[in-house]
């Protein structure tokens, strides 16, 4: 049973396998992503950043207009050892259903097509990954 302060999202099924996700809105200089409603974004605890956006989304919302200096762009490394230079911008992200406003670094890299929320995003949250009901719940 959900408490009054609990909000839940159904798991995403992007590629045949269901995965935990939560709904968010990115506030960029050129507008919000998505334009209306919220964007269901996969939670990936293997990514230790805040939010990774596809190159297209990064540009669409105007994150190139709130970018960090190149000195602060990090190097990303996959578990297989492949390294990428990430572009990084500072932005506000909202979780509307929970009334949360977060400030954090949004990353992308050349060729990236994924949107992922990482460990930095969920570090202040109490999340329940409810496998049997295929829902992510934030209390």
């Amino acid at each position: 049973m959900e408490s009054q302060s609990e909000v839940c999202w159904d798991y995403l099924k992007p590629d045949g396998r269901k995965a935990p996700a939560l709904g968010l809105v990115v506030q960029g200089t050129l507008g919000t992503l998505p334009g209306k409603g919220e964007m269901l974004t996969r939670i990936d605890t293997g990514y230790d950043g805040f939010l990774l956006l596809s190159e297209d989304n990064y540009k669409h919302v105007g994150l190139h207009l709130s970018e960090l200096p190149r000195r602060y762009w990090p190097e990303g490394e996959t578990v297989t050892g492949e390294a990428f230079k990430l572009r990084r911008a500072l932005a506000l992200v909202y979780v509307p259903k929970a009334g949360l406003k977060l400030e954090g670094y949004i990353d992308t890299f050349q060729g990236n097509t994924e949107n992922l929320t990482g460990l930095d995003f969920i570090k202040t949250m109490k999340l329940l990954l409810n496998g049997p009901s295929q829902q992510t719940c934030l209390t």
Partner: protein, 130 residues
Amino acid sequence: MIKGSIAKEIEEIFRRRAMEKYGYSKGAVSRALEAAIKLWLRYEYELKEEEGLNNKAFEEVVDELEAKSPGGHAVIAEGKLVGVYKSLEEAVKTRVKEGASHRIIFKIGEKPSPKVRLGWRAKVKSVGIT
């Protein structure tokens, strides 16, 4: 045509791997070289003029800002410091010149981690035959 020289031992490994992958033909090394360059291009970003000016301005003002306005949000555009704001919300709302292709916003004194682990999910478009 690209010409250059690399260390002998790297060249030997590269030629051997290229031929193992693409066959013992004349074009094998060229195909492997093209795939290698595509990977490198993914790592290195082109520095456009406006972005270069903004980064140069950042390097010129960062020490002074860290001494005078720690914790503030600085905006750099058109190669100069636009202002320092109390919140990110205020900083983002500053006017963007029409046609601007780049702007810097950073929290003064904050040094983000230089490494990020991407995990298994991160996937990229193909860089060609490898």
